[in-house]
């Protein structure tokens, strides 16, 4: 164990390299700025670090950190459902990285909510003081809180193997199926409810984005986001964490990328179809010829239909490079969609000068959160059996 720790430490802080590498310095600066912004936020209020106003009560921290963050953390439930429920055992080695990303993603979503709400210490109030069950936000809050717990439990076996707590680890592994099913139920509910939050504001969200189907759109696009993020992260991990991967992971990786590309392409085709149905149902074709309509087409054609096609081609030709680049487009597409719904097409009727543009502090804090996420992921995956099977538990799952 101690030997392993030494090895892990060595690879995390290579002794032959100075700590002051360009990457480390950049990370350090980001962390310092983040801490400074934290102090500013909690001594000067939201006004000190955000451009939020009465027309735009939700900004980047909700539009990106919460809306896009939750969607991009969907890899956890999609991968574990594919592996455990749909029986695609060949994706097994991808489950742990996906669960870890999901867990960290949700944890950071909750952390960034603590910055965004006015009185974060009251976040438990909706559960312990008064339950506002008529609110979709109540559903979101309940599901996110529960799902964060589920993700934590799903992640735990890796930590417990590392700590050598065999009994506890085995007990948790036994309930994998139950956790996976809870995870999918909770994800279905809150991924869709994030979209359903806007059902109450038909007069504020542009009619091309507003639809009674918006909960379905959010849920289906979260599957796209989950699959694409697994591909995207796999690519990055391969580049930077290769030495941590065991033979099984490396052997299964190409098949996983092609399989997920196929799946994502299929789901995206369905998503494009239901989006078109939504326009047809509300008969909003004429709006496509407006500036917002063109922007809508950029999102739907450029960031959904195009990657859908490219994924299909990539899967057919077994072209990993193409699939990996396509996953970048798909991920950007999900982010664009969430920003459109939450910020850009929200209050669409307001003149440009009244529209919201994020404060540097909001951008800084978002980058801070992303950096924390990447650093913790790297830290955990260098120490714990994430990309490899623990030798004591080989084939034991």
């Amino acid at each position: 164990m101690s030997d392993q720790n030494v090895v892990a430490k060595k690879s995390f802080f290579p002794p032959d390299r100075s700590l002051y590498t360009p990457l480390n310095v950049v990370c350090g600066v980001i962390l310092l700025v983040g801490l400074l912004l934290t102090v500013m936020r909690f001594t000067g209020g939201l006004a000190a670090v955000t451009n939020l106003d009465d027309n735009y009560p939700w900004g980047l921290w909700i539009g990106f950190d919460l809306m896009a963050g939750v969607a991009l953390a969907a890899g956890g439930y999609t991968t574990s459902a594919a592996c455990y429920i749909f029986g695609m055992k060949r994706f097994h080695s991808a489950v742990r990285p996906a669960i870890l990303t999901g867990f960290l993603g949700y944890a950071l979503v909750v952390l960034s909510l603590n910055y965004d709400v006015g009185r974060p210490w009251r976040l438990p109030y909706p559960f312990i003081v008064q339950r506002g069950t008529t609110s979709l936000l109540f559903e979101v809050a309940a599901c996110v809180a529960l799902y964060l717990t589920v993700l934590f439990l799903e992640y735990c076996p890796a930590a417990l193997e590392w700590l050598g707590l065999r009994k506890l680890r085995n007990a948790l592994v036994k309930v994998t199926m139950v956790l996976t099913i809870f995870g999918v139920v909770l994800s279905t509910l809150h991924q869709s409810s994030l979209g359903a939050l806007f059902l109450i504001a038909p007069s504020k969200l542009h009619p091309l984005w507003y639809s009674t189907y918006i909960p379905v759109y959010f849920f289906i696009s979260s599957i796209i986001a989950g699959l694409s993020m697994v591909i995207f992260e796999g690519t990055l991990s391969h580049k930077y964490l290769h030495e941590k991967m065991d033979e099984t992971y490396i052997a299964e990786h190409d098949g996983l990328v092609i399989g997920f590309a196929k799946g994502a392409s299929f789901v995206m085709a369905g998503y494009v179809i239901i989006k078109v149905i939504g326009i047809a149902v509300d008969n909003q074709w004429h709006l496509l010829a407006t500036p917002y309509g063109l922007w809508y087409l950029v999102e739907l054609l450029g960031f959904v239909a195009l990657p859908c096609y490219l994924y299909a081609v990539g899967a057919r030709d077994k072209n990993l490079k193409l699939i990996q680049w396509t996953s970048v487009i798909a991920v950007l597409g999900i982010i664009l969609n969430r920003l459109n719904v939450c910020l850009i097409a929200f209050n669409w009727y307001l003149p440009w000068e009244k529209k919201y543009i994020p404060h540097w502090g909001e951008v800084g804090l978002t980058v801070f959160m992303l950096t924390i996420g990447v650093l913790i992921f790297k830290f955990i995956s260098t120490k714990q059996p994430i990309f490899y099977e623990h030798p004591d538990y080989k084939g034991h799952h």
């Binding site: 029986g87 008529t134 109450i200």
Partner: protein
């Protein structure tokens, strides 16, 4: 972890039951909520408003709001369109309208006190309440500060104290609820020098509005704004300038906020109930398929082994037979050889004997 499965299920059950039997369940039934009977409201007749900002001043005083940057006597602020803020629960805006005697129409803006408020429906901690008296009131002591009420409000009314650190609140008109309870008029209504604001029972206000429109059809737009907008509001407006021209949206529809979300909320218990069944079913089918394929594989292997064994046995038997035959042939051959040799020897022996003779 601290969450047992049992507790988890209790929560899930609680959450779904809450939505299933919560007060909004009637949204899906054939009962319609028509508002609290005898609830109070205010009728704003823009044709009477002169833009003096006395209402703003009274509101500021009654609600102990901070002194404004520009004094209330200064009417220059009317030149720009304003909205409600954390420092001003009500504002008066000026809109150009050439058909008016003064060439302008003034319109007062404040919380419309919806019959079924979006803010109350959206709040996940029930900080907003529609009172039977008609006012929509806010309880800052539970507010988390998520600002979903501001996103939900179709009239863009609630404002937030973004610069406060420890106790930021959502700020909006209360219809002077404490004053109404004391039997007083709302501050703005009391201060209005021209009776552009009329306080009374909502039902009576609608009658008054109808009567004015009926009496002066050439003067008024034939519409009472707030009678049905977003399910109806307790603050009502009549005007001689089209509503769209005085910054009031006419595309809000008549569906109340709770009805907009009822469908999505109603889906929650169904998902909670059916998803586990469906997913466990899929899992069971996959498991079974795997099992069957494993059995079939085993069977195929067994068969192949048996076949191979049988084939091998046959081959062996054949080989054995051949070997036996070969052996027999060899024996025969040897015997034959031996016999021949013996015969030969015999003949040779006879010859020798003959030679000897």
């Amino acid at each position: 972890m601290s969450v047992s499965r049992r507790r988890f299920l209790t929560w899930m059950g609680g959450a779904s039951l809450g939505t299933a039997v919560g007060q909004k369940a009637y949204a899906a039934s054939n009962k319609a909520f028509t508002g609290y009977p005898d609830s109070m409201g205010v009728l704003h007749d823009t044709t009477l408003c002169v833009g003096c900002r006395r209402c703003e001043e009274a509101c500021n005083k009654v609600n102990d709001l901070p002194a404004p940057d520009v004094p209330f006597k200064d009417e220059s602020v009317l030149n720009q369109e304003r909205r409600t803020t954390a420092e001003a629960y009500t504002v008066v805006n000026k809109y150009a309208d050439a058909s008016q005697p003064a060439g302008v129409t003034f319109r007062k803006l404040q919380c419309n006190h919806c019959k079924e408020p979006a803010c109350a429906s959206a709040c996940f901690v029930k900080a907003f309440k529609k009172t039977p008296e008609g006012a929509v009131v806010y309880d800052a002591s539970v507010c988390v500060g998520c600002r979903y009420c501001m996103v939900a409000c179709p009239f863009n009314i609630p404002a937030y104290e973004y610069e406060k650190v420890l106790d930021p609140k959502v700020m909006k008109c209360t219809m002077c609820y404490p004053r109404i309870k004391e039997g007083k008029l709302p501050g703005c209504v009391e201060a209005c020098p021209v009776e552009a604001l009329t306080f009374g029972k909502r039902e009576d206000l609608i009658k008054i509005a109808r009567e004015r429109i009926f009496k002066y059809p050439e003067k008024y737009v034939d519409h009472i704004y707030g009678e049905y907008e977003m399910g109806g509001t307790n603050w009502l407006y009549i005007t001689s300038t089209p509503f769209a021209q005085i910054g009031m949206r006419e595309d809000l529809g008549t569906t109340s906020a709770p009805e907009l979300t009822a469908g999505a909320l109603g889906a929650v218990p169904i998902v909670v109930g059916l998803w586990p069944v469906l997913l466990t079913g899929i899992w069971a089918m996959t498991k079974r398929k795997e099992k069957i394929s494993a059995v079939e594989k085993q069977q195929a292997v067994n068969e192949a082994v048996a076949k191979a064994e049988a084939e091998a046995g046959e081959k062996m038997a054949k080989a054995m037979e051949k070997a036996k035959k070969d052996q027999e042939a060899a024996v025969k051959k040897e015997v034959k050889k031996a016999l021949e040799a013996a015969e030969k020897a015999k003949e040779e022996g006879a010859d020798e004997k003959e030679e000897d003779v």
